[in-house]
Amino acid sequence: MDQLFVNLKAWFLNLLGLFLPDWLVMLASIVVSGVVILCLGPFIMMYLTLLERKVIGRIQNRYGPNRVGPWGLLQPVADGIKMFTKEDIIPAYGDKLIHLLAPIVIVVPALMVFLVVPFGRNMTAVDLSIGALYFLAISSITTFPIFMGSWASRNKYSMLAGMRTAAQMVSYEIPMTLAIVPVIMMSQSLSTGAIVAAQNGLKWFVFTPWGLVGFLIFFFCAIVECNRPPFDLPEAESELIAGFHTEYSGMKFAFFYMAEYMNAFTLAAIAVTLFLGGWQGPLFPSWLWFFGKTFALIFMMIWFRGTFPRFRVDQLMGFAWKFLLPMTLVNILVTGFWHFNPGAVGWGVSGAVLVGFFFAITALNRPFVPEKRIYELAE
Amino acid sequence: MVTADWIYLVPLFPLMAFVVNLLWGARFLKNKAAWVSIAASVAACAVALPICVKVFGGARFSNEFVWLTIGSGTLRFGYLVDPLSASLLSMVTIVGTLIQIYAAGYMAGDPRFSRFFAYVSLFMFAMLTLTIANNFILFFMAWEIMGLCSYLLIGFYFEKTSAAKAGFKAFLTTRVGDVGFLIGMLTLFATLGTLDFSEINSLLTGTSQARLGINTGLLAMSALCIFCGTIGKSAQFPLHVWLPDAMEGPTPVSALIHAATMVAAGVFLIARSFVIFMAVPGTMPVVTTIGCVTAFMAAFIALTQTDIKRILAYSTISQLGYMVTALGMQGLGAGTFHLITHAFFKALLFLAAGSVIHGTHVQDIRQMGGLFKKMPHTALTFIIASLALAGVPPLSGFWSKDEILLTAFASGHSLVFWTLLLTAFMTAFYMFRLVFMTFFGKARDPKVHAHESPALMTLPLWALAVGAILLGIPGSPMTHHWFQRFLAHAIHHPEYHPSTFVMTCSVVAAISGIALAGIIYLKNIHWAEAIAKTFRPLYQLSFNKFYFDEIYSRYIIRPFNAVGAIFFKFDASIIDGAVNGAGTGSLWIGAVKNWIDQHIVDGLVNFMGTFTRLLNSIVKRLQTGFVQNYLLIAFLSFLVFIIWELKLI
C-alpha cells in the first residue's frame, strides 16, 4: 500500500515506454508528476476551504455548509463556479499589466513549493539537494504579488494593506528560516528526503527540546506567512476591507484565495516533514501518515482561527523581532549543545536554558507604552 | 677755629643765598629775601676776615683738587690766598655786606625784590671765587658769571627799553674784552703749558735758562690780549662806553658792581698776571698810555655832565685809568692800594647819590639844590667821600693818588705825571661842582621836596665814610708803606722814597679845583654858561662824550649789519633755494614712483586677480552639482584609461 502511487506511475511509464523513445519517457514522467501536483493542489485547496468552514461552524456551534451535495461536499465546486461566473473588474487608473500579473505570480510559487514536499516514501516530485532552501526561496517570492496587487489597484487601503502584509511576511520570514537551521544542522542535509530519513523510527525532531521549540516557532511563522488569522491583520474585514485584494473579483480573487490555502497546506506539509517526521509512521502507508499529520496541523490552524483574537500590528511585528528571533538563535545554540550530549542530560540543560531564556525575553519585552503625546496649546 | 680749608665756604654762602632766593624767593620770602643774602655775606665775612688777618700775618694758603682728567693732563681747581687776594677779599666782603644792607632799604617795595637779591648773591659768589681762584680757567668762569650778573642787574628794570638796551650794550662790550682775554689765556697756555698762577710765577721768576725756552713774542701777545679783558671789564679807553649807560640799573648795583668790585676785577687781573707783564717789559708802555688816556678823557667828559650818576660813572672810569697807569709803570702796590681805597669812597658816593635820588626821585643835578638842610647825613657823607676822591689829605684818596703820582714822577714818566696831575685837578673841580649844585645854593626846582633816607640806608653810609677816612693810613708813609711792602714782598720791584714835591703838587691841584668849583657854582652861576659859550667846541665835545657812541654805531655796527644783511640774502637765496629744490625734487621723484606703483605694480596684481577669475569661470563649469555628471566623467576617463593602458586602438 505504501508504494501504491509510485508503482502506479512506474506501471504507466512502462506502458508509455513501449512505444515512445526513452528521452520522451523521461519527459512523460516529468509531465505526469507535474500534472499530479497541478490537480492535487487545487483539489486540496477546495476541500480545505470546505474543511475550514465546517470546523469554524462546529466551533461556532453551527453546521458548516451542508446544502450543496451530501454534507456540503460539493460546496467548493459551487464556489468555484461562482468565482468563474463573477464579473471581472479591472480598476480604471490602476496598472493593468501588474493587476493581471499579480494573481499569477502568487499562485506559481505556491505550486512550485509542492515540488520538494515528500508526500510519501520516495514520493517527492524532485528530491532537490537544497530542498529546504528552495522552499524558503520560493516562499520569500510570495511578498511580490502582494506588492503588485496592492500597488496596481491604486487605492489607499490596498496600498496600506500591501505595505503591512509585506512588512509582516518579511519580518516572519527570518524567524522561519532560522527555525529550520537546527533541523538542517541535525540532519546534515538540506534535502527534505534526507531530513525525513533522519527522523525514522519515531526519532522525530519534535521529541527533542530544540525540535519542539523549533516546531512551535515554525508553526507560528507558517500561520503568519499565509496570512491566516489570528495574524491576518492585512485583510482584516473590519479595518482594511479585503486588504490588498480588495480590487480583485472573479477568477483573479479565486487565484489569491487558492494561493492562500495552498500556502497553508504546503507550510503545514513542510512543518510535518521538518519536525513531525514527514511520512515516517509505524503501521500505515507513508503517504497516509503524511496526509494525516498535515491535516492535523491544518486543523490546528483552523482551530486557531476560531479561537484567537486578531493581533495588533505593532504586537505582531514586536512578537517577530523581539521574541521569535532571539528564541530561534538560542534554539540553534541549544541544538549545538544537544548534538554533543543528547538524551536526559541534553533535555535537562537545554530545557532549562530554553525556559530560562523564554522568561528572560518576556521580561525584557516591556509592554509597548505609546509615547505620551504632548499637546501644545496653540499660543 | 677758622682753618684754611673753610675758604671754600666763602663763595659757597652767597651761592646758597642765591639758590634760596631764586627758588623760594618770589613765593615765600618776598621782602625777607634781603636778610638771607645779607646773612650769607656776613657769614662770608666771618670766615674770610680771620683768614685775611692770618695772611696779613705772613701766612699763605693754597690747595687744589682734580676737577677733570683730559687724557693724560688733568684740570685742577683750587684756591690761592696770598696778600693780593686777601686784601681784595676783605674789601669785597665788607663793601658787599654794607651795600646789601643799604639795598634792603633802597629796594623796599620793589615787586621783584627777591630776584634782585638773588642776582646780587650770585654776583658776590662770582666775585669771591674770582678773588681766591688759583688758575686762569676758574678765574675766567667767575669773570663770565660776573658779566652775566652785571647784564641781569643793569637790565633789572627791563620794562624800560633803555635799561634793557643798556644791559645788552654792557654785556656785548665786555664780551669783546672777554674774547681778547680768552685768546690771551689760550696763547698763555700754548706758551707756558700751564694756567696755574703759582706755576706761572715759578716759571717766569725762575732762573734765566728756564725763561729762555719760552717764546717771548707769544708771551707778549698773550699779555696784551689779557689786558684786552681788563679794557673791556674795567671800561678802559676804547670799551668804556657801556659804563655810563650801566647807570640805568638800581643805584646799589651801580655802587657794588660799577664802582667797587666788578670794574676792579680787571685791575685785579693785571695784578694777578703782573709777573707775565714783568717778563715782557715791552707791553708796559701800552698799558700806561691806555690808562692815562682813559683817565684824562673821562675826567674831561665828567666836567660837563648833568646827571649825578653819569658824573660818578665817568669819575670811576678816570680813577680806573689811574690804577691801570700805575700798574703800567710797574707800581703794583700803588695801583692795588688805590683800588682798595677807591672802592670804599666811590661806593659811598654812589650810595649817597642813591639816597639823594631815593629822596628827590630826580637824577638831574640842575633840578636839585639846597638839599644840605633836608638830607644832612647824606650830604655830610657825600662831602667826605668827595674830599677823599679829590685827594685832600689826610683822607685815604690823597695817599693812594699820591702814591701813583709818586710812581709816575719817580719812574720818570714826566708826561704821565703832568696829565695825571691835570686830571686830579679836573676830578676835584667836577666833584665839587656836583656837591655845590646839589647840596648848597637855592632849590632850583620847586616840585622837588626831598626827605632824609631811613637809618637802614644812612648807617652803611657812615660805615663807608669811616673806611674812606681811615683806610689811607696802612699805605701811607707813616706806616712806611706797609701795604705796598706787604703786597710786593714776593715780587721785587722798585721802591720809591716819598717826595714832598709830589705831595705838595697834588694838594695844590685838589684845593685849586675845589676853589674854582666853589667860585663858579656857589657865587656866580652864570659864569658856567659863559665858559661853555667861549669854549663851545670843547664843551660840545665833552658834553657829547667825544661822540664815541655815534662813531661806534656808524663805523662798526652799521657795516657789521650790512655784512649780516649780505650773508642773510646769500643764505635765503642759495641755501634755502637748495633746500627747497631738494624738497621739490623729492616730490617729483615721489610722483614718478607713485605713477609706477599705481600702474605697473597694481596693474600686475589686478591682472593676477582677473586671470584667476577667468580661469575659475572656465573650470567651475565642471561642478554641475549632478552626481551623474561626475559618474559620466569618471566613466569616460576610465575608458580613456583603458584605451591608453591596453593600447587597444
Binding site: 496598472d95 511578498t143 | 549632478f626
Partner: protein
Amino acid sequence: MDLLQLAIKTGIYTLMAGTLVFALGVVMLKNLFHAALSLAAVLIGTAILYLVFHAEFMAAAQILLYVGAVITVIIFAIMLTEHIAERSIIQRNKQSLPALLGVLALLVLIGKVLLKTPWPVNPSTLDARVSVSDLGVALMGAYVFPFEVISILLVGALIGAVVIARKDSRP
C-alpha cells in the same frame, strides 16, 4: 540525446535573451515599479542561469536574498516615494547620448579583449559539483575572515541605515 541538449541550449539562450530584455526594461521603463519588477525578473533569470552552472545553492540563495530581501526593500522605497512622481515626468536625464556612446565603446573594447584572450578552461572543474557542504567548509575554513568582516559590515551598515532613515525624533 543531442535533441534534448539542443532544446536545453536554445532554452538557455532564450533565457539569456529574456534576461537582457528585462535588463533593458530596468533601464528604459518609465514607471519605476515596472523597472523594479523587471529587475526581479532579471535576477530570477540569472538564478536559473546559475542552475545551468549546477550552482543550485547560489540560485536558491540569490532568489531568497536578492529577490526576497533586496527587491522588497527597493519596492518599499518606491512605495514610500513613488506617489510624487507622476508618469509624465521623463525618467532619463539629458546626458543619455554621451553615456550611450561611452557604454557602447566600453562594450566594444572589452568585448574585443574577451574574444581575443584564450580563457584557460580547466576540464577538471567542468564536471565538478560543489555541494552545499563544500561551500560551508570553504566559508568556515579558508574564508572565515571575510565572512566575519562581512557580518560586521552588515551590522554596521544596517544600524547606520536605520539611524539615517529614522524619523527625526528630536523636536
